[in-house]
Amino acid sequence: MTAAELLAEYGDHVFDEIDLDIEADSLVGFATACGETHPRFVDPDDADFQGVPNYLTRIHGTRTLPKGFPVDMERCFDAGKSIEVHQPVRPGDHVTGRSEIHDIYEKSGRSGTMLFIVHRMNFYNQRGDALATVDWRLVQREFD
């Protein structure tokens, strides 16, 4: 299948959903390991205590790709991750993450053709407020 055919078949629908309760210890551990020192990230007693901007990137769904998606994970690597932050995540939040295939495209170069799969997770809190959008670029080498 071509990238366009894959996108037409697997894109544009939520294929996985996961829920997670946000705990202060996890927020502090993530922040301190990354070198944050500001009280709003490392002190649960701070009035504005919150997760670091990319905290929600740690949450994965129950599956990486939709059921039946034809990809050889042995030839795949993680090419990068982006996060758009809509509002801070805070302890006590009950977060829902919904996964979809946002984009699929090919790139060709000297080493052959690679398939880029953009896995998107949209995160919401218990009030339904959008918290963040995380795009994970998964690349399969030697795509044909």
């Binding site: 210890d25 551990g29 990354c34 070198g35 990319n54 990137t57 740690r58 996060i83």
Partner: protein, 138 residues
């Protein structure tokens, strides 16, 4: 811990370098991250297990590298609000190496007050296994 002074939009200059940050990616620190994220995979917590899997050593998780770059922004501007950050993982960053986080202001939008910063993690060999871009407001 004392914080650097808050940054004002008016004080930021195009091409301004962020202060370089010596990054802590010791195994102990990686384990703190691993427990916080419930990612206890041996490839991030155990050098020997990582080598057995064909890696040069235990690797720093990509999202920890991303968090380190975000922390470098806050080390420069503690009041920065990160709107988005995009990172590319070019090569593994090895646990117990001594990387440096660097950044430079690459765009300032006077209308929206959004500042763009290019970010890199550089290892001892001068290689940049992780690069990124962030948009922030102050």
């Amino acid at each position: 811990m004392s914080q650097p002074a808050e940054k004002r939009f008016e004080d930021v200059e195009f091409g301004e370098d962020l202060p370089e940050v010596d990054v802590d990616v010791r195994l102990e620190t990686g384990k703190v991250f691993a427990h916080a994220t419930l990612n206890l995979a041996p490839r991030v917590t155990d050098h020997e297990a990582a080598k057995a899997a064909g890696l040069p050593g235990a690797i720093v998780p990509g999202i920890m590298s991303q968090g380190i770059l975000v922390a470098a922004i806050h080390a420069w501007a503690p009041n920065a609000r990160v709107l988005n950050v995009d990172t590319i993982f070019r090569a593994p960053l090895i646990v117990d190496s001594k990387p440096v986080a660097k950044g430079v202001v690459t765009d300032i939008d006077d209308e929206t007050k959004v500042i763009e910063v290019d970010l890199t993690l550089q290892n001892e060999k001068g290689e940049t296994p992780v690069v990124g871009t962030a948009k922030i407001t102050l």
